[in-house]
C-alpha cells in the first residue's frame, strides 16, 4: 500500500512547459520550488506572526515586504501570502502553532506555482491578459496584488522595474503559460 504520510515531491508545473525566452525583451522562467502559506488573522495574531515569520507583515494595501529569503505579500487587510525557501514549511508551521490568538495558516505550496517574468516588454506582455495599469506610477516596485490574468486568478508582484513574479494555481499553469506565450510572440528579438 502507498505510504500516505509522505508528501509527494514538489513539482513546479511551469517547469514542465516550454521555456519562453525572447532575450532582453521578454523572458519567463519557472520559479524554483518554494514554501508558500496563506496567513489570515486579526490584530493580535498579525503582531505575533511578525515574530513567528521573522518579517513584519506589510500593513499597507498591496505592498510586499521581504528579507533575503522570505517574503510576505499583502493580499487583503487580514490576509497575506508568505513565501519561503522549499523545505522550511515544517519550521514555519511549528512557529505559528505557538501563536495563541485565533488565526489560520494554510500551506498552499503545492497549490501554487509561479513564473519569474522579466524584460523590457514585460508589462506589455502581462497587459495582454491583465487589465491593471502596470505603469510604474500606478504599480511601483514592491507592489503586489491578487488580480486576473485572462481568466485565471493570479498574484502579481513587481520585483523590479522590468521584473515580475507571477503566482497562480497549478492547474491554471498550462493555460496561463499559453496566454503568455501567445502574447510574447509580438516581442521576439527578431521582431
Amino acid at each position: 500500500m502507498a505510504d500516505l504520510t509522505a508528501l509527494p515531491a514538489r513539482v513546479e508545473d511551469f517547469a514542465g512547459l516550454a521555456p519562453l525566452d525572447h532575450g532582453s525583451r521578454f523572458t519567463a522562467a519557472p520559479l524554483v520550488p518554494a514554501t508558500r502559506f496563506v496567513f489570515r488573522g486579526r490584530e493580535a495574531a498579525i503582531e505575533a506572526a511578525t515574530a513567528a515569520f521573522g518579517l513584519a507583515l506589510p500593513r499597507t494595501a498591496c505592498r510586499a515586504a521581504e528579507t533575503a529569503d522570505r517574503a510576505a505579500l499583502w493580499l487583503g487587510p487580514d490576509e497575506w501570502l508568505l513565501l519561503a525557501p522549499d523545505g522550511e514549511g515544517e519550521a514555519i508551521a511549528a512557529a505559528f502553532r505557538e501563536i495563541a490568538a485565533p488565526h489560520s495558516l494554510v500551506d498552499v505550496s503545492h497549490r501554487n506555482t509561479g513564473l519569474d517574468l522579466s524584460g523590457s516588454e514585460v508589462a506589455a506582455v502581462l497587459n495582454a491578459g491583465c487589465p491593471l495599469d502596470l505603469h510604474l506610477a500606478a504599480f511601483p516596485v514592491g507592489m503586489c496584488t491578487r488580480t486576473l490574468f485572462a481568466k485565471a486568478e493570479i498574484v502579481l508582484w513587481r520585483r523590479a522595474v522590468d521584473r515580475f513574479r507571477l503566482e497562480c494555481w497549478r492547474s491554471f499553469a498550462p493555460y496561463v503559460h499559453g496566454v503568455i506565450a501567445d502574447a510574447a510572440l509580438e516581442y521576439t528579438d527578431e521582431g
Binding site: A61, C62, L75, G76, P77, E79, P131, L132, T145, R146, T147, L148, E153
Partner: protein, 95 residues
C-alpha cells in the same frame, strides 16, 4: 473598461469585482410572518437613480464594501469600507 474604486486597493478594473446586490436591506424579525420574510428576501427597491449596493473585490483583496451607484449611468458616486459611515453625498442617494 469601467474602473471601480475599492476602498482598500484603489481604482481597479470592473472584472475584478462581483456585485452583491442592494445594501442595507433589513432582515425580517425571527417571529415575522411568511410575507415579511419573503419581502426581506426577495423584494428590492429597483431604484432608477442612485442606489446603495454591496460589492465584493473578489479577485483582489476579497473584501465586501459599500457603494453608491447610479443604476442608469453605471457611475459609482462613492465607495466606502464596511463599518465606516456613509460619506456625505449632499442629500443624494437612496435609503
Amino acid at each position: 473598461m469601467l474602473l471601480i474604486t475599492c476602498p482598500w486597493c484603489g481604482p481597479r478594473p470592473e472584472i475584478e469585482f462581483a456585485a452583491r446586490g442592494e445594501a442595507h436591506v433589513a432582515r425580517a424579525a425571527p417571529d415575522a410572518d411568511g410575507e415579511a420574510i419573503a419581502a426581506a428576501l426577495y423584494l428590492r427597491s429597483n431604484t432608477r437613480g442612485l442606489l446603495a449596493e454591496r460589492w465584493r473585490h473578489v479577485y483582489g483583496c476579497g473584501r465586501y464594501f459599500n457603494a453608491v451607484r447610479h443604476t442608469v449611468t453605471d457611475k459609482f458616486v462613492a465607495t466606502w469600507r464596511v463599518g465606516e459611515s456613509r460619506p456625505d453625498l449632499g442629500g443624494e442617494g437612496t435609503r
